[in-house]
C-alpha cells in the first residue's frame, strides 16, 4: 500500500487527495521559491507544529474520545529532554529526538495506567494537573533543570544564511510522518477498537477489546510525536523556561485546532492547526498584541463548540455528500432480500475438537448474588448450562435476568458467588478476558457502533488478547472475508458498507449476532433475541440459532416470547425475585405452580387447571405489562 493510499480516508475522497498532495507540494516548494520570506516561513513552521500536535491529540481524544486538556505537557517533556542533554554535552539536540518521544511515551503510560482504568472524568482532570505539576517540578529542581532560570540550548549548526529553513522542513516532514502514523492507527484493529471505546465502552469490552490497554496505549502513542517534535522545538527556541515550555496556551491551541478542523477525522486536525495558527497570528498582529490573543482563542473555542461541533472538514464533507446524494437514485432495502438470501456457513466454535464428548457443564453459576443498595437483584442463583444446549432463562420483568447476564459477561462485578466457564473461574476476570475464553453476548437493545459500517462492526471483535493482532489491518484479508461470510449467513451480506445506524432494529439484532460469531464463541448469551422484531425475522433468528447450535455452540437465552422459548429451548430455567424457582424440560416448567404464581401473582388461580396452555397466556399478560 502506498503512502498516498494510506493517507486517504473515506471522508476526503479522491478529489480531496489531489488537493492535499498539491497543497503539500506547494509547502515543500515554498522556501525554495521564496527563500527570503522569513517571517512567513516562521509562521508556517509553527503551524506545522500545531497541526502535528492536533493530529496526535486526535488519537486519544478524537478516536478514543478521551479529552486531554494538557497535551502540551509532552512538548515540554520533549523540549526539556533534548534541551538539557544538548546543553550538558554540547551536542546537536536533534540526536535526542527518539529519546524525547520515549520520555513522553513512558510518562503517558504511567499516568494512563493510573487514571484510565476507570471510565469517566478523572482523565481530563489529571491531564491538566499533570501539565501544572510538570511546571512546578521543573521549577523546583534547579540542580537538574536550572529551575526558572531556564536552559540555553546550543545554537543551530548550520550557517545563519539558511535562517529557519531547516526547521521548516523538519517540522513539515514530522507533520507528514505523524499524519501517516495516525492514518495507520486508524486502519488497524487498534484504531477500530478505539472508535468502539468512544462509541460504547461496555460493548467494546464485551466483544473482547481490552479497553484499559487500548486507552493507555492510545494516550501513550499520542504523546510520542509531540515528544519528538518537542526536541526540535527546543532547538528552534534555543531557550527554555518552565512556564513557556509547559504552557497551557499551547494546549488550548491543540484542542481548538483539532476541534475546529474535525475531531476524529484524519485531515481535520491538520486543517484546524493551519487555520488556528494563522488566525491567532493575525489576531496577534492586527488585534492588539498577545494580550487579546487569549480572548480571541477562548471565544473561538466557545463558538466552535456551539455552532460547529463536528468541525470544518466533516461539515464540508457532509455538504458535498448531500449534493452528490441528490443526483443518485435511491436504492431501497427490503425485507424479502433478507428473508431469502441466506447462505449456509460452518461456524467452528473453539471447543470443536471436544464437541463429541458427553454433555458437560460449560457454564456454572454458583450462588451468584448482586445488590443495588437495598435491592437484591440477583439473590444466590445456581444455574448450569450444559455444553451444546439451548438453555432458556425466563422470568417476569425485574426478576434479575439481565443483571445475571451482566454478572456472567463481566459488565458488573458479582457481589458474592462463583462463576465457572469451561473449567475456568471467570467471576474476577475483566469482560474482555471472558470474551477471549469464548463467551459472547448480545444486548437487549442492540448496541452496535452506529457510526461504523456494518462490516467494520462485524470485524471489530477480538478473539484473543494478542498484541500482534492489534496492529493488523482492521478490514482486510482473512477476517474481512470471514465477516462477509457471517453477514451472508445472517442474510445481510448486501449491507456490509451501510452505516450500522441506518439498519432497522431487527437487522441490527442480526448484525450483532454476526459480530458475536467473530469471537468464535463456545457459548452465546442472547438477551431477548426476538424482542421488537417482526415474525419473519423471528423465524430467521430461530433458524440461525438452531444452525449454530447444531455446530456445537451453546446458548443461554432470555426471552419473553414464551411459545418461542418452549419450542426452541431445553432446559428452561425460571428466575423470580433474583432466585431460580424452577428448572427442567419445557413441558414440566410450564405447569409448575410456582412459575405461574411468579408470572401472575398469588391471587390468580385457574378455574380449572389446564397444564400446558396456561403459561402461554401468562406470558402474554406479562409481555403486556
Amino acid at each position: 500500500m502506498t503512502l498516498v493510499d494510506s493517507l486517504r480516508t473515506r471522508t476526503e475522497g479522491r478529489r480531496g487527495t489531489l488537493v492535499i498532495i498539491a497543497l503539500f507540494a506547494a509547502l515543500f516548494l515554498y522556501p525554495v521559491v521564496l527563500p527570503f520570506a522569513i517571517y512567513e516561513q516562521g509562521v508556517l513552521l509553527l503551524a506545522f507544529l500545531t497541526a502535528l500536535m492536533a493530529v496526535s491529540w486526535n488519537i486519544v481524544s478524537g478516536y478514543a474520545g478521551y479529552v486531554s486538556l494538557g497535551h502540551s505537557v509532552f512538548l515540554g517533556l520533549g523540549a526539556y529532554t533534548g534541551g538539557l542533554l544538548a546543553e550538558k554535552y554540547q551536542v546537536n539536540p536533534l540526536w535526542f529526538m527518539p529519546l524525547g518521544g520515549l520520555v513522553a511515551f513512558v510518562v503517558a503510560t504511567l499516568v494512563g495506567m493510573v487514571v484510565l482504568r476507570a471510565r469517566g472524568h478523572a482523565f481530563v482532570i489529571i491531564t491538566i494537573a499533570l501539565l501544572l505539576s510538570m511546571q512546578v517540578l521543573v521549577t523546583n529542581f534547579p540542580s537538574i533543570t536550572n529551575g526558572s532560570n531556564g536552559v540555553n540550548v546550543p545554537l543551530p549548526f548550520w550557517s545563519s544564511d539558511y535562517q529557519n529553513m531547516p526547521f521548516y522542513y523538519l517540522f513539515l516532514v514530522l507533520l507528514l510522518a505523524t499524519v501517516a502514523f495516525a492514518a495507520w492507527i486508524r486502519r488497524t484493529k487498534f484504531g477500530t477498537g478505539l472508535l468502539a471505546i468512544r462509541e460504547d465502552e461496555d460493548k467494546a469490552a464485551a466483544i473482547g477489546v481490552n479497553t484499559t490497554r487500548y486507552k493507555v496505549l492510545a494516550y501513550a502513542v499520542s504523546a510520542v510525536p509531540i515528544g519528538v517534535a518537542g526536541v526540535v522545538y527546543a532547538y528552534f527556541l534555543s531557550f527554555l523556561n518552565p512556564v513557556g515550555a509547559f504552557a497551557l496556551l499551547t494546549s488550548v491551541t491543540i484542542v481548538l485546532s483539532a476541534l475546529a478542523g474535525g475531531r476524529g477525522t484524519l485531515w481535520g486536525p491538520v486543517l484546524g492547526g493551519f487555520v488556528v495558527s494563522i488566525v491567532s497570528e493575525v489576531a496577534n498582529v492586527y488585534g492588539g498584541g498577545s494580550q487579546s490573543r487569549l480572548l480571541v482563542l477562548g471565544l473561538a473555542l466557545v463558538l466552535v463548540v456551539l455552532f460547529l461541533p463536528q468541525g470544518i472538514l466533516p461539515a464540508v464533507a457532509a455538504r458535498i455528500a448531500r449534493r452528490q446524494a441528490a443526483k443518485k437514485t435511491v436504492e431501497y432495502t427490503d425485507q424479502t432480500g433478507v428473508a431469502t438470501k441466506r447462505t449456509p456457513i460452518v461456524v467452528t466454535p473453539r471447543s470443536a475438537p471436544q464437541a463429541e464428548r458427553t454433555p458437560a457443564p460449560l457454564l456454572e453459576i454458583r450462588g451468584a448474588a448482586k445488590s443495588f443498595g437495598g435491592l437484591r437483584a440477583v439473590d444466590g442463583v445456581d444455574l448450569t448450562v450444559e455444553a451444546g444446549s439451548i438453555t432458556a432463562l425466563i422470568g417476569p420483568n425485574g426478576s434479575g435476568k439481565t443483571t445475571l447476564f451482566n454478572l456472567v459477561t463481566g459488565a458488573m462485578p458479582v457481589g458474592a458467588g462463583e462463576i465457572w466457564f469451561d473449567g475456568t473461574r471467570i467471576d474476577r476476570l475483566p469482560a474482555w478476558d471472558r470474551a477471549h475464553l469464548g463467551l459472547g453476548r448480545t444486548f437487549q437493545t442492540t448496541r452496535l457502533f452506529k457510526s461504523m459500517t456494518v462490516l467494520e462492526n462485524v470485524v471489530a471483535p477480538l478473539p484473543t488478547a494478542s498484541w500482534g493482532l492489534m496492529a493488523k489491518d482492521a478490514v482486510s484479508g482473512h477476517e474481512a472475508e470471514r465477516a462477509r461470510e457471517l453477514l451472508d449467513f445472517v442474510g445481510l451480506g448486501r449491507f456490509g458498507d451501510q452505516q450500522a445506524g441506518a439498519l432497522s432494529y431487527g437487522q441490527q439484532k442480526l448484525v450483532e449476532l454476526a459480530q458475536v460469531l467473530m469471537l468464535e464463541p463456545k457459548m452465546i448469551l442472547l438477551d431477548e433475541p426476538a424482542g421488537g422484531i417482526n415474525p419473519t425475522l423471528i423465524n430467521r433468528m430461530v433458524e440461525i440459532i438452531r444452525d449454530l447450535n447444531r455446530q456445537g455452540i451453546a446458548f443461554l437465552v432470555v426471552e419473553h416470547n414464551i411459545p418461542l422459548v418452549l419450542d426452541l429451548c431445553d432446559p428452561v430455567a425460571v428466575l423470580s425475585r433474583g432466585k431460580i424457582i424452577a428448572q427442567g424440560p419445557p413441558s414440566i416448567v410450564r405447569a409448575d405452580p410456582a412459575v405461574l404464581e411468579a408470572y401472575l401473582g398469588p391471587e390468580w388461580l385457574p378455574a380449572e387447571p389446564v397444564p400446558g396452555a396456561v403459561l402461554d397466556q401468562a406470558a402474554l399478560s406479562a409481555k403486556g405489562s
Binding site: 486538556l69 512546578v136 443483571t403
Partner: protein
C-alpha cells in the same frame, strides 16, 4: 508539638475555604454531569471585582461577598441559559471543551481589562492574628473559613430542607426519573448551575484576601479544585468536604515540614495513590449503568 497543632489548625481553616470552592463544582457535576472548567476563572473574576471595589471604596472584601453572591447567581443562570443549555444532551467531552473555552475567554477579558500582574486585597486585619493557647490564627483565614462554613451550612439546608433542594438532588440521582415525577430538569439544571456559580461569590471574595492572584491563576485553582472532587468522588458533597480538608492539611503540613512549593505536588501524589486503589474516588459510588439507556 505547637508547630504540628498550628499546622493542623491552619490546614483545617484553609480546607474549609477549599471545601466551599469545590462544593459548587461538585454540585454542578452531580446534577448536570458537566465538569465546569470555568469554575476557577469565575473565582478569579470575583476576586478581581472584589479587589477593585475594595481598592476604590475601601469596603471590606469578605463582606462584599454578600453582594457578589447574588451577582454570581445571576451570571451563572445567564451562562447556563445562554450558553451551556445549547449543548445539553451531547457528549460530556463537549461540555468540558465549552467550559474550557469560557474559562479562557474570562482570562482573556481579565488580561485585557485588568492587566497581567499579581494583586491582593489587604484590608486592615490582613496581617493580624488571634492568639489562642500559643497558636496564632490569622484573622483573614478565620474570617474566610467562617464565611465558608456559613455558606456551606446554608447550601446544606437548601439541599436537604427545601423542595428546590430535593428537586436538585433528585435530578442528580436520576434525571429522567425526576422528569417523570414532574421536575423540570432544564429548570433544575439552570438553578443548580446558578447555585454552584453563586458559591464563587464568596469563594472569590475570600480568595482575594488570602491569596495573591492574576488572570492565569485560574488554572492553578481549577486543577486544585478538580483534584479535590476527584479525590472525594465526583458529584459527592461529603467527598468534596473531605477532599478539601485533605488538601488543606497536605498543604500546611508540607509547608511546615518541607517547603511550600512542593505542597501541590504532594496533593497530586495523594490523588494518584487514591485513584490507584479506588478509581471512583473516596466517596464516589458506582451505580448500575445498564438501565440508564
Amino acid at each position: 508539638m505547637t508547630q504540628l497543632v498550628q499546622a493542623l489548625v491552619l490546614g483545617l481553616l484553609i480546607g474549609g475555604v477549599y471545601a466551599l470552592m469545590a462544593s459548587g463544582l461538585t454540585l454542578i457535576f452531580g446534577v448536570m454531569n458537566i465538569i465546569n472548567v470555568a469554575h476557577g476563572a469565575l473565582l478569579i473574576l470575583v476576586a478581581f471585582i472584589t479587589w477593585k471595589t475594595w481598592s476604590v471604596t475601601g469596603i471590606d472584601p469578605i463582606l462584599l461577598s454578600i453582594v457578589m453572591t447574588p451577582v454570581m447567581f445571576g451570571l451563572g443562570w445567564a451562562l447556563y441559559k445562554g450558553v451551556l443549555s445549547r449543548i445539553s444532551g451531547t457528549s460530556p467531552g463537549m461540555s468540558v471543551l465549552l467550559t474550557f473555552g469560557i474559562a479562557i475567554t474570562i482570562e482573556g477579558v481579565l488580561n485585557v481589562t485588568a492587566g497581567n500582574r499579581f494583586r491582593s486585597a489587604t484590608p486592615s486585619y490582613f496581617s493580624q492574628s488571634y492568639r489562642v493557647f500559643g497558636i496564632s490564627l490569622p484573622k483573614a483565614q478565620v474570617y474566610g473559613c467562617l464565611a465558608a462554613v456559613l455558606v456551606l451550612g446554608l447550601l446544606y439546608l437548601v439541599l436537604s430542607r427545601t423542595w428546590t433542594g430535593r428537586a436538585i438532588r433528585a435530578t442528580a440521582q436520576n434525571a429522567s426519573g425526576a422528569a417523570l415525577v414532574g421536575i423540570q430538569s432544564a429548570g433544575v439544571a439552570a438553578l443548580a448551575f446558578a447555585i454552584g456559580t453563586a458559591t464563587t461569590g464568596v469563594g472569590g471574595s475570600v480568595l482575594s484576601v488570602l491569596y495573591p492572584f492574576f488572570p492565569a491563576s485560574h488554572y492553578d485553582w481549577i486543577s486544585r479544585l478538580l483534584g479535590i472532587i476527584v479525590l472525594g468522588g465526583m458529584g459527592s458533597l461529603a467527598g468534596a468536604l473531605v477532599g478539601a480538608l485533605i488538601l488543606g492539611l497536605a498543604e500546611t503540613l508540607t509547608a511546615t515540614y518541607g517547603s511550600l512549593q512542593w505542597s501541590t505536588l504532594i496533593f497530586y501524589a495523594v490523588i494518584m495513590i487514591v485513584l490507584l486503589f479506588r478509581p471512583q474516588g473516596l466517596f464516589g459510588s458506582r451505580l448500575r449503568q445498564d438501565v440508564m439507556a
